[in-house]
């Protein structure tokens, strides 16, 4: 009996291959988007973690040679003997592998291979034979028998500095010296021990982890969003499949198949399908991840200097999570349908009209839920602090809006239906309204996809606009020159002083201000700053106050993280400074502050300025470059025109959002697919309703046209609702999530042209999706339409 029942159930799919495809494709796409995003996330995180664990030197200040020459080992020893707690690092490439030599006894905590800490044989590490740590591939590329450490970043090998020097054939040389955080009380000045070395501040972003977290959080949010879209599709597909199989179920039950057996069979059947779709989905996700990863890698690398392997590894964890999502999603979608099935009266027929009526009852519950979620979102919007609350608010808002969508659409359609004149128009509106329950899941998916698109593109574009303005402020000097050493710095300042309008030294040191790691800049107060810097908040004549050496300007990140405000005082070293202004600072993760250059020189005599901004008429720049090159001996590479820096900064910045854009497009495409599938599935069910219309004289091609118009209309209505939702999403991202993740709030700009284009895309997607069902409808053999009247239904 079970076999017979199963074959009867399965025969449904043979007769409706399209529906089978809908179900499998919907599930597979949902799984693909989810697992693809997860894969990118995990891969980036894994690479990033190992990079962070093994590559700690960027987190420390460093001494580097001012002329790019290697540092002699003797200089390292001399510095140690002068009280400088520094540790040597040497780096080089062998067979494409970055070989890093460290000195484990002097290295600050956190530098070096993680495995070494696990009680590794330090004697072996230090001895002349020396161990090499790296992944198996890396060690193979180096052709050494090393210690296999999967945690070391890809293409990086760690070994003792002595071994590295020998491998790289650079005995007695060091590339840089890492400066430990805690230095002794007594120390000879750097310029007296090693005048050729300059101190380089720790890489901007000692809290890189926090930043990349926010990036991953964005990706995860997108993953969830796309999964939600996918679940809507799956839910729709399964619901419709059940609806269509009601006659089969009814017949089987009438023939004596117990309800329990039937439900069990359907459940097993669905789970098998979910498994197949899940496997396809994970494989598809792998492809998506493979396509996205290079951009993610480039983004992380460009923005945060975190190195990410450009290739994917198949990790069991995302196979499992992908399949679990597919099975879970199907389970959730099927549970409701199975429950309905179990309560279905034995002889009930599939009746779309009845379905619509039932939907009307459900609508009340759904409406109530939507209202609760939207109110929750409003409350959170007013009170939310922090990343988690921000995302909770986003989730409440999006789900609430999605649930509310059918109700709003239904109301609009009812309104139109009441106002409609003419038989065809009235029938059109009524019929559209009746189809709504079948289409609403696809429309919800479209709503979410569009809202995400509006929201994220608004955020990205606002971000970019603000950032460009910020670059204009910040890169106000026409030429930037970097000196090789203190001597050359002097030559530059004296050599070009008569030629230029102003020379603005750029010097900084990383030090905590109010407990927050901060880059403190010693700045020559000049009209350039007065004219170009926009202060978010300030006291009277802030720059003049800074110039007196008693005041400080801080960036928005420091202002928010340390909870400071204008008029507060902070101590820097032992100097008490009044905060006289707060400036916007986009593109820099950590705190920043500006003090007067004389005060800076007094407090940090070892940090001389080596970079200079030069104010000069734009046309004079080439002449000045020539003077610097020929008279002072500054190589071209050390001079950068402002335009070049801007282009570079924008380039790095734009890559950040390539991934976001790609995901946007994918989500929209999936939503379009959902509409197509819903319409296709509905098409066969709708023949009984269309047949009377045809019988009273509406032609098949007219019916087909109406079909397209309906889809476009619904898409347009959805788009109209998606716009404010998207803008709310953008606001939440800019004002809540950004502040929590990056520490800055961005002004929100509107981009009507983008929205119009998006409208166009949505309508186009709906039109294309409805085209095929419409054509099929137009070509329905009249015999099929006639059958309706003779058929039992």
């Amino acid at each position: 009996m079970i076999r017979t029942a199963l074959s009867a159930l399965l025969s449904h799919w043979w007769r409706n291959p399209l529906q089978l495809f809908t179900l499998l494709a919907g599930l597979a796409l949902a799984t693909a988007l989810w697992s693809g995003v997860q894969a990118v996330n995990m891969e980036a995180r894994a690479s990033y973690d190992s990079a962070a664990a093994t590559l700690g030197e960027a987190g420390y200040d460093q001494l580097v040679s001012s002329d790019d020459q290697p540092i002699p080992l003797a200089t390292f020893v001399a510095l140690r003997r002068a009280g400088w707690l520094v540790s040597p690092v040497i780096e080089g490439q062998i067979n494409g592998v970055r070989v890093i030599g460290i000195e484990p006894l002097t290295a600050p905590r956190g530098l070096g291979p993680v495995d070494l800490a696990g009680g590794a044989d330090i004697g072996a590490f230090l001895s002349g034979q020396g161990q090499v740590f790296g992944s198996a591939e890396t060690l193979a590329a180096l052709d050494v028998d090393g210690v296999v450490s999967p945690d070391v970043a890809p293409n990086v090998a760690y070994t003792d500095i002595g071994v590295a020097q020998r491998m790289l054939n650079r005995e007695g040389e060091v590339d840089l010296l890492v400066i430990a955080d805690d230095q002794p009380l007594k120390q000879t000045a750097l310029r007296d021990v090693a005048p050729d070395l300059i101190r380089r501040a720790a890489a901007a972003g000692s809290d890189v982890g926090k930043l990349t977290d926010s990036f991953h959080l964005n990706l995860t949010a997108f993953g969830l969003l796309s999964f939600a879209v996918g679940i809507f599709i799956v839910n729709g597909a399964i619901g419709l499949a059940f609806e269509q199989r009601r006659p089969v179920v009814r017949t089987l039950r009438a023939l004596g198949v117990p309800l329990g057996t039937l439900i069990g069979l359907i459940a097993v059947e669905l789970m098998l399908m979910a498994l197949v779709a899940g496997i396809i989905g994970v494989a598809l996700g792998y492809v998506i991840a493979g396509l996205l990863l290079p951009d993610v890698a480039a983004t992380l690398n460009g923005l945060y200097g975190a190195s990410v392997a450009g290739t994917l590894q198949l990790r069991p964890s995302w196979w499992i999570s992908g399949l679990a999502i597919a099975l879970g999603g199907t389970g959730v979608a099927a549970a409701g349908a199975l429950w309905q099935l179990s309560r279905m009266p034995l002889l009930a027929a599939a009746q779309p009209r009845a379905m619509a009526m039932a939907a009307g009852r459900r609508a009340k519950v759904q409406g109530g839920l939507a209202a609760i979620l939207l109110i929750g979102a409003l409350v959170l919007a007013a009170t939310a602090q922090g990343l988690v609350a921000g995302f909770a608010m986003l989730a409440a808002m999006l789900i609430g809006a999605a649930l509310g969508l059918p109700i709003i659409l239904s109301a609009v359609l009812a309104f139109c239906s009441n106002r409609a004149r003419g038989v065809v128009a009235q029938w059109f509106w009524a019929d559209t309204r009746q189809q709504l329950p079948g289409l609403s899941l696809a429309l919800m998916a479209l709503l979410l996809a569009m809202a995400a698109n509006v929201g994220v593109s608004t955020m990205v574009s606002s971000f970019r606009l603000t950032f460009v303005g910020f670059l204009d402020q910040r890169l106000s000097s026409e030429l930037y020159v970097t000196a090789a050493d203190a001597d050359q710095a002097r030559q530059i300042t004296t050599g070009i002083a008569p030629e230029v309008d102003a020379i603005l030294p750029i010097q900084s040191i990383t030090t905590p201000v109010a407990g927050v790691p901060t880059d403190v800049f010693g700045t020559r107060i000049h009209d350039t700053y007065r004219d170009n810097w926009i202060l978010l908040d300030s006291l009277d004549r802030p720059w003049d106050q800074v110039a007196t050496g008693t005041a400080i300007l801080i960036n928005e990140q420091l202002f928010r993280r340390a909870g400071l405000k204008v008029g507060d005082t902070v101590t820097l070293g032992d100097v008490l400074l009044t905060i006289v202004g707060i400036y916007g600072d986009y593109g820099n993760p950590i705190g920043q502050a500006v003090i007067d250059e004389h005060l800076f020189a007094q407090m940090y005599p070892d940090v001389g300025p080596l970079r200079f901004g030069v104010r000069i008429a734009e046309a004079e720049v080439p002449r000045l470059r020539a003077i610097l090159r020929d008279d002072v001996g500054v190589p071209d590479a050390q001079m950068i025109n402002q335009a070049g820096i801007k282009a570079f900064s924008l380039g790095v910045f734009d890559r950040t959002f390539v991934v976001t854009t790609a995901l946007n497009v994918l989500t929209l495409a999936v939503a379009g697919f959902a509409i197509l599938m819903s319409l296709l599935t509905l098409a066969t069910m709708r023949v009984p309703q269309l047949a009377p219309a045809w019988a009273v004289g509406v032609t098949r091609s007219q019916l087909g046209r109406l079909e397209v118009i309906r889809a476009v209309l619904l898409a347009l209505l959805t788009a109209v609702i998606a716009l404010p939702l998207g803008l709310a999403l953008a606001w939440a991202l800019l004002a809540v999530v950004n502040v929590a993740a990056f520490g800055w709030q961005l002004p929100m700009y509107l981009f009507p042209w983008d929205y119009a284009r998006l409208f166009g895309f949505a309508v186009l997607a709906a039109a294309i999706a409805s085209l095929w069902p419409a054509i099929r409808l137009a070509r329905t053999p009249p015999a099929d339409l006639l059958k309706v009247f003779s058929h039992e239904r």
Binding site: F76, R80, G83, G119, L126, L185
Partner: protein, 344 residues
């Protein structure tokens, strides 16, 4: 850098949880002290690379003009991965420096670690200089100079020797267990010391007396010895005494002592003659350790109470231990230093 690594590296003897207990390892290829040594100075002030472990260990009892007691420590350990000298990065000689200043209320500690082959740390015998990074102890063993600094303290001291070198055990062959483990061990306990301590509250001019220990070996402890309690005591009557207990895992201890009369003549005492008994323990930042002791050397009529100036003289270094100045009361009065290892 994980402290455990340094511990494993620098203290081959401390690789197990017992810390100092591993000092009783095999000598594997290293030289072992033999009885009746003949020292060759100044060469023997320098390093003995064919022995596994060696130290230059100075402690000082200091006083400021206002009468406040201070303690000071300057230590350089040499630890060899192999019994070779060598040069460059491959040299198997590792060095570790400990410096500390103890006040009645605070204890400042700093540690430095480095490799011998590249010049970051080392000892030369003639002219004598011992250094690691910017820390230095140098001179001709009559007048000497000593500096060290940490993140929150520094000192700069001048020393003048006022007496001869003292040899412990049998002419410098100091037996450490019933099984015969031994080290070479001599001291210069007669330094007058004066200089400046730089502390968070400012500079303090101090004077006092210092005691320098020199010791080297390859397996100074027996396998069942878990740590030691070591006393260097300078009595107000001019006599001095060095005594230690090597605690054994069965609860007993192996003791040894050297009596240094005011005229500089010495007398070594075998196991059992010197006794030390904890009277009070204190919670420190590390372990709970005895900080008041009753010490006895009945043969010399010594029955005194030794009390820590600052009970929390815990050395939070790679291998943690307790080291600090003490006051002596009872049959004899005076000042001294106490070192306790192997407390967990």
């Amino acid at each position: 850098m994980n402290a455990k690594i340094i511990l494993c590296a620098l203290m081959p003897f401390a690789a197990n949880a017992q810390g100092f207990a591993g000092l009783g390892g095999d000598a594997d290829g290293f030289s072992v002290p033999t009885p009746a040594p003949s020292f060759d100075f100044p060469a023997d002030h320098g390093p003995h690379d064919d022995y596994r472990i060696e130290w230059w260990y100075l402690t000082a009892n200091l006083q400021a003009e206002d009468g406040t007691d201070y303690g000071l420590q300057w230590t350089l350990f040499r630890s060899a991965l192999a019994p070779e000298s060598g040069a460059g990065w491959t040299a198997p000689q590792l060095w570790m420096g400990h410096a500390a200043v103890t006040t009645p209320t605070d204890h400042y500690v700093s540690e430095r670690i480095g490799r011998g082959g590249i010049g970051q740390a080392g000892v030369t015998a003639d002219p004598f200089s011992a250094w690691i990074d910017d820390w230095q102890f140098s001179g001709d063993w009559q007048t000497m100079e000593m500096t060290a600094s940490g993140t929150d303290f520094a000192y700069d001291m001048d020393l003048i020797a006022q007496g001869p070198l003292i040899f412990h055990g049998e002419d410098g062959y100091s037996v450490k267990s019933a099984g015969g483990q031994a080290s070479y061990y001599y001291s210069q306990p007669y330094f007058d010391i004066a200089g400046t301590l730089t502390l968070p509250d400012g500079d303090v001019a101090v004077t006092g007396s210092a005691w320098l220990d020199r010791e080297w070996s390859s397996q100074p402890l027996a396998a069942d010895q878990t740590g030691w309690d070591w006393f260097s005591l300078s009595f107000d009557d001019g006599a001095k005494m060095m005594g230690f207990l090597l605690r054994q895992s069965d609860g007993t201890a192996y003791s040894s002592a050297t009596w240094i009369a005011a005229d500089g003549t010495t007398m070594a005492y075998p196991d059992g003659a010197f006794q030390a008994e904890p009277l009070e323990t204190s919670e420190t930042s590390g372990a709970t350790v005895p900080t008041t002791w009753r010490v006895q050397l009945p043969d010399r009529g010594v029955d005194a109470t030794v009390t820590a100036v600052n009970t929390d003289a815990w050395m939070q270094t790679s291998v943690p231990y307790w080291e600090g100045p003490v006051r002596i009361e009872g049959s004899h009065t005076g000042r001294g230093y106490l070192e306790m290892t192997g407390y967990e």
